[in-house]
């Protein structure tokens, strides 16, 4: 009788729950069903095989694909496949021509680019100089769409561009109002992606449309579930691309992503440091990591009286034990850094033996007592933590460490709706918070990492930091293209910012991609973390 059947089913269900609760952790012993393709480990990479779709498990949902307005990582991973820029960076941060075959810099304020011929947009039309002109008109808000509110595009990236003209069908000339050493580097940003004006004319904007020249074209987008991109047949370097396409599956929960990797339902996903150690044990998975050019830092709201006192800010830096934070938050896989993280090579200052980077609780206490605080008169501060788990975990560790030096920290985890609003006001009392722990991208050029975050009045200088020497150094740094001279300026700037402790940089984490062993030909780096032109699936 069917009632009996149902009792057995529900009994099994209860048993399942019970056994799991009892056995205390399934991680080590269960060996997954063997993967059919046993890729030879350690032998030289098998010959590239064309075909197959890469299945990527992503952690968050893109909001749209307009390269000039969207900049969060979820959208970037897809846009990097659709769009290309005039020039691009190699892994060692040196610049090579992508859509531009070659370029000259006749004088400090003019750049002339010789475009590659025969490069086609996804609409099939050939890319010409006019398209480059239209692209920069759109970025600078000169098209009828007006100012499209691009995030950080105008003022810091291309503010200095006075004119963009097409000399002939395949040459474009840019003239700047003042010499800007970072201009060439800025062109590699996704904000510099060359777009197809016909698509914009037809669709109004590129949020859900594809006007690029990249190796893959935008396929289907089912919001909150998956996005597909497929190989662009007449891409100008089509022979280099062997993947048929990439499908981005949204799997919000990290444990679920790891599970999907293990069962082979996805080939590619990024995991946090703690889960990477579990992934390494799996025979059918391998881990690719690279030092990112991002860093986590804690900023002080200079409108808070207590934090205007340099001694308090330095005390905070001394009290901070970066090693514990790195162990707890990044499982030891991160490097202490200044506002120019190590990933930027020679520009980055070595902070390992700097006084302010060594934990010295007694000195911190002395400074706090000098500033008038003691056990009876403790300083209570409010701290806002950004969206990422790493920031929230770091905040908890920091709270613990600052408690030693008479500081009581009250933490609030912001969610995406409020974060940007409060972040923008962090130099004013309206923000409602004295400190904020943030995760910032230092960009690919030192000018970006210093002036954009520390230049008086510049876009990301939200904590109210202002120093004429820094402003002076920034203008000098941008004005000359002599690498050695720029390095000197930027090193001095770094020392001043570290000394000031308004924004105390903590560490720059590693980024992990866990892939199936069958994924070959993909080597991520800070400069280019989602280039799948050479990737392929070995059978």
């Amino acid at each position: 009788m069917n009632v009996k059947k149902w009792i057995s089913v529900s009994l099994a269900g209860v048993m399942l729950l019970g056994t799991l609760a009892g056995c205390g952790g399934p991680s080590s012993n269960a060996t997954p069903a063997p993967q059919d393709s046993t890729a030879p480990v350690g032998s030289e990479a098998p010959a590239p095989v064309s075909g197959g779709t890469l299945r990527w498990g992503t952690d968050s949902e893109p909001t749209g694909f307009d390269p000039h307005t969207n900049s969060e990582e979820a959208s970037l991973r897809v846009m990097n496949q659709l769009y290309e820029t005039l020039v691009e960076r190699n892994a060692d941060m040196t610049i090579y021509g992508q859509l531009a075959e070659s370029w000259e810099i006749p004088d400090e304020t003019t750049y002339v680019f010789k475009l590659r011929e025969g490069v086609k947009f996804h609409s099939g039309r050939e890319m010409t100089a006019d398209d480059v002109v239209y692209t920069f008109d759109r970025i600078l808000g000169k098209t009828e769409a007006g100012d499209i509110g691009a995030l950080g595009s105008k003022s810091s990236y291309y503010g200095g561009v006075t004119s963009v003209e097409a000399l002939d069908t395949y040459t474009v000339q840019f003239t700047l109002d003042a010499p800007n050493a970072a201009f060439l580097g800025n062109l590699t940003s996704n904000y510099g992606a060359i777009v197809d004006k016909d698509v914009i004319a037809e669709k109004g904007d590129l949020m859900r449309a594809d006007g690029g020249t990249g190796p893959f074209t935008l396929g289907e987008w089912l919001p909150d579930n998956y996005v597909t991109v497929s190989k662009f047949a007449d891409y100008w370097e089509a022979d280099r691309v062997s993947l048929d396409g990439i499908t981005y599956y949204l799997i919000g929960d990290e444990a679920a992503r790891l599970a999907a990797l293990r069962t082979g339902d996805i080939d590619f996903a990024s995991l946090s440091a703690s889960n990477v150690s579990a992934a390494e044990k799996e025979a059918n998975l391998k881990v690719l990591s690279y030092q990112t050019n991002e860093y986590i830092a804690v900023g002080c709201n200079l409108s808070t009286a207590a934090l205007q006192d340099l001694r308090v800010r330095q005390a905070i830096s001394y009290a901070m034990d970066r090693d514990t934070i790195i162990n707890v938050v990044f499982s030891g896989q991160a490097a202490p850094c200044s506002m120019v993280p190590p990933a930027m090579g020679h520009w980055s200052l070595d902070v390992s033996d700097m006084d302010l980077y060594k934990t010295n609780v007694d000195k911190a206490k002395e400074l706090m007592e000098a500033a008038g605080y003691s056990d009876s008169n403790r300083l209570s501060l409010t701290l806002a933590a950004g969206l990422m788990d790493s920031l929230r975990q770091a905040a908890v560790v920091l709270q613990q460490q600052l408690a030693e030096i008479y500081i009581d920290l009250e933490i609030t985890n912001l969610e995406s709706g409020e974060y940007v609003d409060i972040w923008g006001k962090m130099s004013t009392p309206e923000a409602g918070f004295d400190m904020m722990i943030v995760n910032d991208g230092a960009g690919t050029d030192p000018n970006r990492s210093i002036s954009f975050f520390f230049g008086t009045g510049s876009g990301a200088n939200v904590f109210g930091f202002s120093n004429e020497r820094i402003d002076e150094l920034c203008t000098l740094g941008i004005a000359t293209t002599d690498e050695a001279l720029r390095e000197e300026y930027y090193n001095e700037a770094q020392l001043i910012c570290i000394e000031d402790c308004t924004k105390i940089c903590i560490a720059s984490p590693m980024k992990y991609f866990v892939t199936s062993t069958s994924v070959e030909g993909f080597s991520p780096s800070a400069a280019d973390s989602s280039n799948f032109r050479d990737a392929y699936l070995a059978q």
């Binding site: 529900s10 399934p26 691009a150 919001p223 929960d253 293990r262 409020e418 940007v420 409060i422």
Partner: protein
């Protein structure tokens, strides 16, 4: 019957209006706004004003509300501020996912709950009764997100199984669709089945005490006929009322399960809308969910008349 439906709809109108006012007011009270979400760093005052004007957020609240409601009545829920995509089509396409999930879950909960409920009532105060009641309570007590994470982990480790990715509609590929939906629907169904089981048990017990059951037995009917042909049919009424009530908890549960199994449903859309302070999207979704809730309640009432001859709607 026509009068009854008309009266019920008249009763429903104030509720829907009330909901639209409430959700509109709530969205206005939420701190942080969508403009700074879009502009981010570049949020200079005149840029902010320009965008506010573009989305009509600078008009007085009453005008905004009437404009929105006017649109809704003509089937135009406006456009999402973040993705500027029209809202109603997206709500409808996503509703198909949530509807399928909740209907499947409700169906699973009934298949589990009603037979067990009847079993518990018939074999009252025996071991079976006690077991069923504990199982019902267990079902209700396990948070559905804990159960979901647990099952995903256990299935992947022990059986190296992961629910297929990439949602496909039931019509396009029924088998794959069911494979995707069965786990989340089962989890949602189990956590809901507890209350249905309890209701079935008490209403069957109630009916078994009625006089006509004794008459049926006096006519020579077997226990099976007395229970399934007579008792269960009469016990269906209170169970149907539970369907109306259940829809609320089903939709609530769906919000969570959709997030874990990343199903493109209405709950997920509402949650992202709230996070991104995308007012029209949240207002549209909540109003639509409320409309569904009210519709289901009306349908359950009409189901009464169909099942219980005593109720005749004048």
């Amino acid at each position: 019957m026509k009068n009854y439906i008309l009266r019920r709809i008249l009763q429903v109108v104030p509720v829907l209006i009330g909901i639209s006012i409430l959700i509109f007011a709530v969205m206005k009270m939420i701190p942080g706004d969508v403009i700074s979400g879009i502009l981010g760093v570049e949020a200079t005052p005149e840029l902010r004003a320009q965008l506010a004007a573009k989305y009509g957020l600078d008009r007085p609240y009453l005008v905004q509300y009437l404009d929105w409601i006017g649109g809704v009545l003509h089937g135009d829920f406006g456009e999402s501020i973040r993705t500027s995509a029209p809202i109603l089509p997206e709500i409808l396409s996503r509703f198909k996912v949530t509807a399928e999930l909740t209907i499947l879950a409700a169906f699973i909960s009934w298949i589990i709950a009603i037979p067990l409920g009847v079993l518990a009532a018939v074999k009252r105060n025996t071991l079976a009764d006690r077991f069923v009641r504990v199982f019902a309570l267990l079902g209700v007590s396990v948070p559905n997100f804990a159960l979901s994470i647990l099952l995903i982990l256990v299935l992947s480790l022990a059986f190296s199984y992961f629910p297929p990715l990439g949602y496909v509609g039931f019509l396009e590929d029924p088998l794959r669709n069911l494979q995707i939906m069965i786990l989340p629907a089962a989890i949602l169904g189990v956590t809901i089945s507890g209350s249905v089981m309890r209701m079935t048990r008490s209403s069957v017990l109630e009916v078994l005490r009625q006089d006509f059951i004794k008459t049926v037995r006096a006519k020579g009917a077997s226990e099976r006929v007395a229970i399934f042909r007579h008792a269960l049919r009469n016990a269906l009424i209170p169970i149907i009322t539970l369907i109306g009530m259940q829809i609320g908890s089903l939709l609530g549960g769906a919000v969570i399960v959709e997030q874990i199994f990343s199903l493109p449903g209405l709950g997920q859309m509402t949650l992202t809308g709230i996070n991104q302070r995308d007012y029209p999207v949240v207002q549209g979704c909540v109003l639509f969910i409320a409309f569904i809730y009210v519709l289901v309640n009306l349908l359950t009432d009409l189901l009464y008349a169909y099942i219980d001859p005593r109720i005749s709607y004048d």
